[in-house]
Symmetry: C2
Subunit: 188 residues, 2 copies
């Protein structure tokens, strides 16, 4: 657990290795994962006194932690940093809007396809294969990211595999056989 919903905002983090999930909880335990962070991503920008979400390690994670006070001082001295933070925030906002379309308007297959395409693009940016995907998170995490249940996620994986769009080499390793079809399905 890196930060917990409701906790005071005291630090800023920079992920230097591993994958982190961000999520919000409802009082009855329902959970929505709002995003996954990986190497290079920032965590902890907030205007509120307390964190509006929790951040938890998905894999072994390594982070840089800065006291919030230092950030404010740093921004004072190097206004350029603000520019990159703004760029980062705008980028995240665009991703959040895409995810709203996924959650509000796509069916289970389209959601899973969108998720896999997202992983594929991220892998591409990191210089990895865009068709052999590593899924460090559990089915429950994927479900809570896509607004589904673990059962539906599992069934939808099986369905995609049966139609030869992907192959499940392991639960955590997916081979994309038809990237083009997956793209079409994702952006439906």
């Amino acid at each position: 657990m890196i930060v917990e919903q409701g906790e005071r905002v005291e630090h800023l983090f920079n992920i230097t290795a591993g994958v982190v999930k961000l999520y919000k909880l409802l009082s009855d335990g329902r959970r929505q994962i709002t995003g996954f962070l990986s190497i290079g991503d920032f965590l902890g920008m907030a205007l509120t006194r307390t964190h509006a979400f929790s951040a938890e390690a998905v894999t072994y994670v390594s982070v840089c932690r800065y006291p919030r006070s230092e950030l404010e001082q740093l921004l004072e001295e190097h206004p350029r940093i603000e520019h990159s933070l703004l760029g980062n925030a705008v980028h995240e906002l665009a991703a959040a809007q895409d995810q709203m379309v996924v959650l509000g308007r796509k069916n289970a297959s389209e959601r899973l396809a969108s998720f896999l395409i997202g992983l594929s693009r991220r892998a591409g940016r990191e210089g990895l294969s865009t068709t052999l995907l590593h899924l460090p998170m559990s089915r429950a995490d994927i479900a809570d990211y896509l607004g589904l249940t673990t059962e539906t996620v599992s069934r939808t994986f099986s369905k995609l595999a049966k139609s030869a769009i992907i192959r499940l080499e392991e639960p955590t390793r997916v081979r994309v056989l038809r990237l083009d079809e997956l793209e079409v399905m994702a952006s439906a």
Copy 2:
């Protein structure tokens, strides 16, 4: 229509009156409204060459339009502005994450309650009544914001009215009778 998905990003806008809806379209016409803007809100921050979403007037709207080039120059000269833009972006991001919970994990009643509570809070901030709400947008807009259909939105309004939590004085005017219950229902 203020900006259209796919159009080149050439201007920045500042809403000075009225209400604007932001939305994304899928190729088959499904629509997700990602937010409503009103007086004082910014529109047009983007890192991409083209707009990722459309913005359309819900009511009569008045805006200030700035060429993008001027913004870049302005930021160069007054780095302080960047600070307020960053604050704005962080605020919007938090709202987007709340909306992801709504879309991913809440049922129809909870979604509508969340929407009404959001309107109530905004009204409060603008010095208006928090219990007599004006809904300038159509049922279809509300549906596309909440990831539902117009029929479900309408039925859910009726249900809330029947349980005496709200009263529908007109389709566009809602009296909140039990704000406390609505809050509980929203954050369930």
